[in-house]
Structures are given as C-alpha cells and as structure tokens.
C-alpha cells in the first residue's frame, strides 16, 4: 500500500522510503535538539502511532480473518515494527531504558481495541458553504485554538513575529484542506464551467480563511498597529498561497498534486513573489473539471 501511495505521488518507492527515512531522522533530531523533554514526548509519539493500528473496525476485520493466537502474534509484530524506528533513534541517543520499554508497551497496546474517531458532530461556522472548510475545521479546530492562544501570548509578551508565526500556521493548516482531490461526483455536480468553478472555490476559500484568521489579525492589528503594513503583507501572502493550492490542485485533478507542483510550492515558501507567475499559470492550464 505504501508503494502504491508513493507511485501515485509520482515518486519511485525506493526514493520515497529514503526520503521518508531522512524526514523521520530529521524531525527526530530536531525534536531532541529543541526540547529537553523530547525523551518523554518521543515514546508517546511512537505509541500514538502504534495506537492507530488498534482501531476497532480494523481489528474486527482481522479477528474474522485470523484465529486468536495468530491475530495476537500479528498485532504484536505490527506494533513492534511500528515503533522500531523510534527504538533505533532512542538507542542512537543512548536512552537505552526507554528503547527497551517502548516495544514492551507497544506489545501491550496490541491487545487494546478502540475507536480512533469519536462520533460527535463538531459544530462549524462553515456549514453553509461545503465542503473543504467544514471537513478541515472539524479535523483541525484544536490547531486554530492553539494559534489563537499563541497570538494572544505574542500580544502579552510584545512579540510581533510570534503573532505572524501564528497567522502563517493558521494559513498553513488551511492549505492542507486542499491537498487531496475530492471524489469526481462533487466536481461533476457543479453547474459551472472550469473557470467559474475555480473562481467560486477561490472566493469561498478566501471568505472562510478570513473568518479563521480574523481573531489573529484583529489582535495583532490592535496590539501592533505600527506594524500594520507588515501584517497586511503577510495576510496577502497567506491568501496567495491558498489560491495557489486551489489552482494547482485542480490543474492536477483528478490526480493528486504532482511532485513538481509540490516542489514549486516549496520554492514559493522561500520566494513568495514567484506566486505571481504560478497562480495565473495554473489557473489557465487546461483543467479536467
């Protein structure tokens, strides 16, 4: 399945595994560099990853396929394999006690069964205009709460840059709402041609993202009114990135965004002016919508 995922993303599986490994080592090293509590956070991260394999439906299915003994063996193997990269990194960091205890806890976790998603309808302010922000908000509302808290802290400690960081994180989270292509039925249903469809998607996205970042913008605008120019500039950059995501997504539709588009997005993070060229380009390429 992972191989297929890499192939769909246009990456050779071998390169994909090397990149994933490099990303894992990079993030792990960064975590340990950044906080002295990493040694406690790290095993918890590993267990939360292994915990995903304990999902109720998945395990119900497995229990229908395998006898109990074999199922237990399989689940323990899965969980130990899932935490193995973390164990290696803990060994590398010479936290041998944690490295030994982690597989044990992962093995115990193999016997647990639980729902990874709660069946509670989370209220959303975006219910009138489905669907990206409805789904996205419900998946990541806590991140927005976090960015509001960070921007509040930024105001109290008088750190404008921290406020801008919170603003860009909010935009970043919203960009992820547009990563996956939706089922063709939801594009087909629209009584619009390709260009009108894109314009409507962009208009809805700009409206909704404005609602999300409004508290941050108001806070920063009030507390750092002398930096209002910079605030507006970052706001414009955020909007531009969101528009880029939408036009790039539908330029690749029904496939996922290509590797090239992702690389271009990374280039734009370093040089946002590049967006001025890329947005009209992807807006005008023939779209399969």
């Amino acid at each position: 399945m992972t191989n297929r995922w890499f192939k769909d993303a246009g990456i050779h599986p071998l390169i994909g595994y090397v990149l994933a490994m490099a990303a894992f080592v990079g993030i792990s090293a960064y975590l340990f560099y950044k906080t002295p509590y990493a040694v406690y956070v790290y095993p918890l991260l590993a267990l939360s990853l292994a915990g995903k394999l304990s999902e109720l439906k998945r395990n119900d299915f497995l229990s229908q396929c395998f006898p109990k003994r074999k199922l237990n063996q399989l689940r323990i193997t899965e969980n130990v394999l899932a935490v193995l990269p973390f164990v290696f990194f803990l060994c590398y960091k010479q936290y041998f006690l944690f490295a030994c205890v982690l597989p044990l806890f992962a093995s115990l976790l193999a016997f647990a069964r639980f729902r990874t998603t709660a069946n509670i309808t989370i209220p959303t302010p975006f219910a009138k205009k489905p669907f990206e922000f409805i789904v996205g908000f419900r998946n990541s509302f806590y991140l927005f709460l976090l960015t509001y808290a960070v921007s509040l802290i930024a105001c109290f400690v008088g750190n404008f840059n921290l406020g801008l960081f919170a603003l860009m994180i909010s935009f970043g989270v919203c960009l992820f709402f547009y990563v996956k292509p939706e089922h063709e039925y939801f594009v087909w249903s629209y009584k619009l041609d390709g260009r009108q469809f894109l314009l409507r998607k962009i208009a809805t996205a700009l409206l909704h993202v404005s609602v999300i970042v409004l508290p941050i913008v108001l806070l920063l605008g009030c507390f750092f009114y002398h930096d209002i120019g910079m605030l507006l500039l970052f706001l414009a950059i955020g909007y531009a990135f969101l528009i880029y995501m939408i036009v790039a997504k539908y330029a690749a539709y029904p496939s996922e965004m290509s590797l090239m588009q992702t690389i271009l997005l990374a280039v734009c993070i370093a040089m946002p002016l590049f967006l001025i060229v890329l947005i009209p380009y992807f807006f005008c390429v023939p779209q399969n919508i």
Binding site: N119, T121, A127, P130, F131, I134, Y185, S189
Partner: protein
Amino acid sequence: MIKLQNLSKSYGSKTVLQNINLQFERGHVYGIVGKNGAGKTTLFRCIAGLEDYSGNIQSDKDRLKDHLGLLLTEPYFFPKITGAEYIRLLCNARDVKVDNLDQRNVFDLPLGQYAATYSTGMKKKLALTALLLQQNEYFILDEPFNGVDIQSNIVIVEIIRKLRELGKTVIISSHIFSTLSETCDEIHLLREGEIVRSVHEQEFASLEQEMKVDFVGGLVERILGSGQ
C-alpha cells in the same frame, strides 16, 4: 429527451458498451436491467459525461449534466460532513436554495449526524433526497432500492411515479424486477454491453420469465445438487 446514437465504450481492448441506440422521452420512466458487469453503470456514467465514449448523446438541454440527477450505486460521502451539509453541498452546486430542510426530510434521516456513518440504505435515501431537492429534469438512479427498508421502498416508488407525472425523465437500474415493473414504461435488457431487448409494460411479465430462464438456467441445481 435524451438520445443515444451508436454509443460505444471500451476500456483498452475490452468493449463494455457496443452501439447503444436508445431514446429517453420526457414524462417516461425507463428501466435498464442486466447481470453484474453487463455495462449498466458504465452506460449511466457515459450519459452523465463522467466517461469518454464514442458515438453521440443528444438532449434538449445545452449541458445535459447541469440538469441531471445521478444517484450512484454507492454514493460517496466525505468523512466529516453531516447529512444536511451534504444536501446543501449538492444544492449549492446547482445554485438551488434549500429551505425547510426538516420538512423536506421525508425519509426521516438524522441530518445532523455525519453522513459517512449512515447505513447503506440511509446513504441511498440521503443521496436521493439531495437529487430531488436539486430540481433536476432528468434522473439516473443506479440501484435506488439497494439496502432500503420496505417503507422507504414504497415511498421511492411513489416518488418515481410523481416524477413521471411532472414530466421528468427517469432511468433506473435495479436487481429487483418488481420495482421496475411497478414504475417503468419501458425496460431495456443489457447483455455484454448490448441492448438485446426492449419491452413495454404489457410484455414485462414475459421478459421476467425469459430472464429467469436465461439467468438461472441450471445454476440452482449446480450449487445445491439435484436433491437426490
């Protein structure tokens, strides 16, 4: 009116539809029957414009798809979208405003719950409700009775009859022949991508009998033995 002329569709070397010539008139209900894999869903997807095809599809509307309500065999739902939001999404897509959703919820669906958690029948009813609220001129209903309870089954049959009265064009596929014979004006039998027979109301019984012989043959004896 929807007119199909020499409609053919292939996936590589595999021909799925071959020279389909059909005409669907306003105020009529049409049934498409055939075994699994006969090409019913592909035919519907071609009419909807979701598949490339050779041949010609004409209608009395500029863009057929803008006036077409398509009920998929297995309607797709986003993981965290409620029934009400799903309906709003589909109605927004057609620029139709929906008022009094609670009153129009004839299947008594829990519209405040995530649609992805609905049962198969509830999903079908939700998707059908959305299509009806879209105020379409044409309807393609792929297995509308799948997984639906007996009460809703009766309601759907009545809805289809009402659509005919309102001058809409309805095309249905179903594995339950009785639901088709109750609602359709004409039934087309699709076999291996070809329309092999088209019958009107008075011949439905003979078609059903013919299909029984054709589809069942000696299959029951083959799996259960001859009973000795």
